[in-house]
């Protein structure tokens, strides 16, 4: 017996659940449970955005359905959005924003010196325990913290997030990029560097490098 009261459609970023208007609510829930159970293997633990179609739902009903989905599959529903024509695009944007939000708060550690030609890239924020030498590059969608000397290139907020920041014990980068703002080292060769820990951040479209003080740290938004 084929029952089309619930139809699941999915794209790369999310799932659309089409619900029949005439089917009684209880029956619908059972059908949703069944459908998601069947496709559990297909979706695995994907992070998805959810949307409903064909039926107006109250907040309680939406919550019920979410519970049913989480009981019957491993899908992480990141958020629910309303029906829209450019749904896929919005799914994508919402998911990426959510993820980059999570990523900039999540971090990974890397121990060792990054040498010329080496690139360290991460979706999350990065903590480097070592130096970043000239010719090496660190790329992160979140923040970058270098417990060592930064003498190479760094790119923080690689998904375009200009509220990211870079910290280094010895701040002497060849080039620094935060979001879409780029700054390069001065052409004059400095002989004596003050090896004080510094932070770089974007303000009014410019990159600022400053010693780490309480007031600067207070301005950081995670």
């Amino acid at each position: 017996m084929s029952n089309n009261s619930v139809v699941i459609k999915s794209n790369k970023y999310g799932i659309v659940v089409r619900l029949d208007e005439t089917t009684p609510y209880e029956e619908l829930l059972e059908e949703i449970a069944k459908k998601f159970k069947e496709s559990e293997k297909f979706f695995k633990d994907a992070k998805m955005v959810l949307s409903f179609e064909g039926r107006k739902l109250t907040q309680e009903e939406e919550q019920d359905i979410l519970d049913v989905i989480s009981q019957n599959s491993k899908i992480h529903i990141v958020c629910i959005i309303d029906e829209d024509e450019k749904r896929e695009e919005r799914f994508k944007k919402t998911l990426e924003d959510k993820l980059s939000d999570i990523n900039s708060r999540d971090g990974q550690f890397y121990k060792g010196t990054l040498r010329s030609g080496q690139v360290l890239e991460a979706e999350t924020s990065l903590v480097v325990l070592g130096d970043v030498n000239p010719g090496a590059k660190v790329i992160s969608k979140g923040n970058v913290i270098i417990l060592g000397a930064l003498k190479g290139n760094v790119y923080a907020g690689a998904s375009g997030n200009t509220s990211s920041f870079v910290v280094a014990l010895e701040m002497n980068p060849v080039q620094i990029r935060i979001g879409d703002v780029i700054a390069r080292s001065s052409d004059e060769t400095k002989k004596n560097f003050d090896n004080e820990p510094k932070i770089s951040y974007v303000e009014d479209g410019n990159i600022y490098i400053e010693p780490i003080t309480k007031s600067v740290l207070n301005d950081i938004n995670l």
Partner: protein
Amino acid sequence: MSEVIVVTSGKGGVGKTTSSANVGTGLAKLDQKVVLIDTDIGLRNLDVVMGLENRIVYNLVDVVEGNCRIKQALIKDKRYPNLYLLPSAQTRDKTSVTPEQMKKLTDELREEFDYIILDCPAGIEQGFKNAIAGADRALIVTTPEVSAIRDADRIIGLLEANSMKKIDLIVNRLRPDMVKRGDMMSIDDVVDILAINLIGAVPDDEAIVISTNQGEPLVGSDTLAGKAYMNICHRILGEEVPLMDFSTENGLFAKIANLFKKN
């Protein structure tokens, strides 16, 4: 237990071949059985620096291609009976040999020799990959110049990625007078950037040019560079030797040397 050591730098002209010749000869002087391999196929010159060019019959490519046995290609040094050279081919290029073949070759030589020293070509391409394939240990040669250090840093990264067990640094062509004036990076500055173990520093010495041109490695001689290379050899053997103090005036060294000569 035998050890395969590759002498490398990334940048050309910093003293790989000179260091290979002197370290190899020095280890032979210290009663080790040593073979020097020139892996710079197409641009061979370790044989010239060793003064053995006229003895070449077969070369590295001949051995790898099976045109001769290893023993036939090995040239016995004219000064030390326990020192041998496996010369490179001049008429071929780096693609004539593969890393697998080099590994097989060094493994065969391990049975005969205490130390196998590979003189690596400049660059990071095939020649470099061939040279490091069979090595347990690397000596990085650099001069105190930003370009040489940048290349050395890249090389160290590649060696680490290839899980090289031991990487040591030789700072070559140091000019103590310039360091003193602040016009040249000091040993500490270089070690600070590269963050690997320093196994020795060799001062810039006219005697090196003379010895290279004559085909006589100067290791162990009375010159500053000769002493510096001998110290490196002792350290390779695991002995603790304090770093030479180059800041001492040359005159004093000469005086001490003269004192010994009179006795």
